[in-house]
């Protein structure tokens, strides 16, 4: 008997028993779809976490003074060791540094016409925008000339723009920061919340020279330095280099007096979190596969057992064992294959739906598709083949009499 002939028999048999075929397929469809959807959602969640971390700049090093370095707590600002000279030294003397910028953090009342907002104000170099990969959605950034001239300009985050300028275009408007007028140059592209849940768009960014001269009190000149490395790989070496450099520049200090943090540490923490999520995902996938697999196994076993008599009849009228087995394997392969394809479509569709609903970037990965389809097909085919083989090898009379 030719393979083609058996394929035809198998297809006819599948079409003849549409309900049984569909139910058997359903096991595979659900198994595959569940795994793909679960993994896609999990991957999406993982991606969100990683993106948020990346949005903070993962090749960034933060340098600040350690105010609690001795038992005697000092007034803020007095303990500050860092200077603009340190920034320039880091930028010019160390290898692997892309940008470095001082950061003065302050906060205060923001005012435009009748609207008030209390916001965080940052004084930075124009390089800061490159370090943090910030850009404007409207207007423009400020430049190094603004920093040199201590121009009273700023760019604002979306939250500030929404609250101070609910109905007007803020570009070119003059806003008062602690009563000092600043011209708004641009509105930043929204970044959303960071991993700690802080709103990264509730921010005013101005040249550090202006902030230093106009906004900071004499005893509140707390400065930190933000540095970006040329590559994430340099980060650890760079951290050590910065620490050595600062100790050289400030004789008599120890390493404890500086805090040199890199975002990679945060990134590493986040990647540990995401590893945990990966394990969680794998467990979900494993359980989905197991449950799906048991479902497939059951329906295959039942549908083949139900057909023992059919096997007997086919054998009695002259079907060889090989013919019968081949027929059942082809049926199982067809069911698994079609079910697998429908399952993929359904799984991808469901993942997209969830992705749209949650506004996540859902990623259906190739390996989740291969894993679920491969596993389901293997189970489907094995449990289509195994009972059929048993039935074909069984005594013909017993198979015929099987009820």
């Amino acid at each position: 008997m030719s393979i083609l002939g058996i394929v035809r028999i198998a297809m006819k048999s599948l079409l003849r028993n549409k309900t049984r075929t569909f139910l058997t397929m359903l096991g595979i469809i659900i198994g595959v779809a569940a795994v793909i959807t679960m993994l896609a959602i999990g991957q999406g969640a993982k991606q969100i976490v990683e993106d948020q971390v990346n949005s903070m700049g993962t090749n960034v090093v933060m340098v600040s003074s350690n105010f609690s370095r001795s038992n005697v707590r000092q007034a803020a600002g007095e303990g500050n060791l860092l200077t603009i000279g340190d920034v320039n030294a880091i930028k010019n003397e160390l290898d692997g540094v892309l940008y470095a910028s001082p950061v003065y953090n302050s906060w205060g009342q923001l005012k435009f016409e009748g609207n008030n907002w209390r916001g965080s104000i940052m004084g930075v170099d124009s390089d800061y925008f490159f370090i943090r990969e910030m850009d404007v959605s409207q207007g423009e950034l400020f430049y190094s000339s603004d920093v040199e001239n201590a121009t009273k300009v700023c760019v604002i985050g979306k939250t500030v723009a929404d609250n101070l300028f609910p109905d007007t275009n803020p570009i070119g408007k003059i806003m008062r920061i602690r009563n000092i007028p600043f011209t708004i140059r641009g509105v930043l592209v929204p970044k959303g919340q960071n991993v700690m849940g802080r709103d990264q768009d509730d921010i005013v960014v101005a040249p550090y020279t202006t902030v230093y001269q106009r906004l900071l009190g004499r005893h509140w000149r707390m400065m930190s330095i933000i540095v970006s490395a040329q590559s994430r790989d340099y980060i650890h070496i760079l951290q050590q280099d910065i620490l050595n450099l600062l100790q050289n520049r400030h004789p008599g200090t120890t390493a404890e007096e500086f805090i040199v943090n890199s975002q990679t540490e945060l990134a590493e923490t986040a990647s540990r979190v995401s590893d945990t999520m990966t394990i969680l995902l794998a467990s979900i996938a494993g359980i989905s596969l197991l449950v799906g697999g048991i479902g497939i196994m059951n329906i295959m076993l039942v549908s083949v057992t139900e057909r023992v008599k059919e096997i007997g009849i086919r054998r009695a009228v002259g079907a060889g064992k090989r013919d019968v087995l081949l027929q059942f394997i082809i049926e199982a392969v067809a069911i698994s294959l079609i079910g697998g394809l429908i399952g993929i479509a359904l799984g991808v569709g469901a993942a997209r739906l969830v992705g749209n609903a949650m506004n996540w970037s859902i990623a259906v990965t190739l390996w989740s598709v291969l894993l679920s389809v491969g596993f389901s097909m293997a189970i489907g085919i094995f449990f289509g083949w195994y009972p059929a083989r048993k039935a074909a090898n069984q005594n013909l009379i017993d198979a015929l009499r099987y009820e």
């Binding site: 009849i313 054998r315 009228v317 079907a319 060889g320 064992k321 005594n395 013909l396 009379i397 015929l400």
Partner: protein, 251 residues
């Protein structure tokens, strides 16, 4: 003689169930001539069905010899037995054994699917011819559950003859049928016999056996009687004499 269809020599079958050995058949010697119509009779447990299973190559004998068309079947492997079942034997079972949700003609085509070199068209043609022979070609596209018992058994007979086998083996072909349809089925078998087919039929009903030409009786696994039926009844005549109720007992 040249027209011997099959011979059994000391054919025995022993079932072993744990420690107990059940002798289902003890040393059966039988010769069947081509073109005969045999009824194998006996009470249940007499071994007649076991004997039929052996003749039909559905089961293997424990000892003894079985020669079909001059070939010894005893030593054949599974593949060869499958071929024999496909090409030399046509089965008719008590409960029809038609594939469900499969049209009559597709059921009849079944044996042809498993034999080599048979085109789609030829298959269809031969199946249709077989259905015509048993007089049920108008139900070719019906499913078994749309057919009456008598019609289903006719489809089964058509399936048995479609591959032009050496003989037809019928196991209680009328066991599930009422009197009228039983006689109808016997008329079909007699018609096939008249066309030159060999028919071996197992039955426990003496009435049905009367349509056969040779009676073989089993008891306790032994062949106790083998005699010619000098005056077999004619099913068509009986059918004509039956009081008419309706044309066909459709449901």
């Amino acid at each position: 003689m040249n027209d011997i269809l099959l011979t059994t020599k000391s054919l025995s079958k022993v079932y072993e169930m744990g420690d107990i050995r059940v002798h289902a058949l003890r040393h059966i010697d039988l010769e069947v001539i081509k073109g005969d119509f045999i009824a194998i009779m006996g009470a249940s447990g007499s071994g007649k069905t076991t004997f039929m299973n052996l003749l039909g190559c559905l089961d293997k004998a424990s000892s003894g010899e079985y020669i079909l068309d001059g070939i010894s079947v005893h030593d054949m492997d599974d593949e060869k037995l499958t071929q024999i079942r496909n090409q030399k034997i046509g089965y008719v079972f008590q409960s029809f054994y038609l594939l469900p949700r499969t049209t009559a003609i597709e059921n009849v085509e079944l044996p042809l699917l498993y034999c080599k070199k048979c085109s789609l068209h030829e298959r269809h043609q031969r199946a249709m011819d077989a259905l015509k022979t048993v007089g049920i070609e108008d139900r070719a596209k019906h499913f078994p559950n749309q057919l009456s018992g008598g019609q289903q058994q006719r489809v089964a007979i058509a399936r048995a003859i479609v591959n032009n086998p050496s003989f037809i083996l019928a196991d209680e072909p009328t066991g599930n049928l009422d009197t009228r349809t039983s006689i109808e089925v016997m008329a079909v078998l007699q018609e096939l016999h008249a066309q030159g087919k060999t028919v071996i039929m197992v039955t426990h009903e003496p009435d049905i056996a009367q349509y056969a030409h040779r009676h073989i009786t089993f008891r306790d696994g032994k062949l106790i009687r083998d005699k010619e039926n000098s005056s077999p009844k004619d099913a068509k005549t009986d059918l004509a004499n039956l009081p008419k109720i309706s044309e066909e007992e459709d449901e």
